[in-house]
Symmetry: C2
Subunit: 197 residues, 2 copies
């Protein structure tokens, strides 16, 4: 089974940072559900977890999925249905980990955290790809909403991916990286799973 076919994305709405650095719970964004499901499907991933501790938000996500997988949406656009069938909700990261483990014969996933800020001990995209292609177990890629994943998630991760580095915002300034999480997921999946000339 290919690396992609045993890889999962988790989009965390908690614990994540707000602008000031405080740990908060963010609200689910409808387009994050759609765009990340479509990217996950395009690269052949096994699943996409929307993680939020707020029950009403999980219900909202399930209603979006339901519309497109059983409702009027299925007839309108079958490709959207194929993508949203990948989406699952989870109250916490541990629940997503348990679900992956259950789907993969009891093998826990390697947790790979992502973030926009520079930090030590990160792994590059090509080295991670080689490593996870060689390991038969599942991979769970962790993305944070808001101002990014809380430190506790980085501490719990097995690997931390290098940030996507941007150009300097102005001459002499540091690198600019202010991608939306939707764009960051698309780029990370392409770097790990994409093939092109």
């Amino acid at each position: 089974m290919s690396f992609a076919a045993r890889a999962y994305v988790a989009l965390l709405h908690h614990p994540v940072l707000e602008k000031t650095g405080r740990v908060v719970t963010t609200a689910v964004t409808n387009l994050d559900v759609h765009d990340i499901a479509r990217a996950s499907k395009t690269y052949g991933l096994a699943g996409y977890f929307v993680v939020t501790p707020i029950a009403a938000q999980r219900k909202l996500v399930e209603e979006i999925i339901g519309h497109w997988t059983t409702g009027a949406g299925r007839e309108h656009e079958g490709r959207r249905t194929d993508a949203l069938e990948l989406v699952r909700v989870a109250p916490a990261l541990e629940d997503a980990v348990s679900a992956v483990r259950a789907s993969c014969g009891g093998t826990a996933p390697a947790l790979v955290a992502t973030g926009a800020r520079p930090r030590g001990g990160v792994v590059g995209y090509r080295p991670l790809r080689s490593e996870r292609e060689a390991d038969p177990g599942p991979t769970l890629l962790l993305f944070g909403t808001g101002w990014g994943l809380a430190e506790s998630v980085f501490q719990a991760a097995d690997r931390i991916l290098a940030p996507i580095s941007g150009a300097p915002a102005r001459p002499g300034q540091g690198e600019y990286n202010h991608l939306s999480v939707r764009a960051a997921v698309a780029i990370v999946l392409d770097r790990l799973f994409g093939r092109y000339e």
Copy 2:
């Protein structure tokens, strides 16, 4: 000047296809303005044109830009301001071409069309990157909303980029590629301008 610093994105809302293949004008999506501006800024591009023949829609985009570059948004999030300063509106592709030419000492940009469907005569990402790095002129990357750019845009283009190829939707089926245009822009910019291990 680097390839990125003389490259521009144009997001066309006309002429593009709807689901049935008819040529239509789509509505501007707020998040397309933001996400594509942020990705363009991250990769150090020179500008991002939102192209629509509808005057009220251009006014809407200008109001979004105004909020973030002169209004309350500037104080809230300076990085968002830096990104939205790249955005310009144009009624038609020709107007975007003229604006690029005026910004680049009279040199017309190479027009590079993108699309999700397989077609002949396409160029790969690495070959295009080499070609445009070697050529001192500007590049205008064309993306379509809706169901993609109309045939007339492909006919007018100097180069057509290979589609982003996906995994088969189901065993035995053709490749699945149903990325949002926001995700497609992020991936194309990363393939052309990104640097990573």
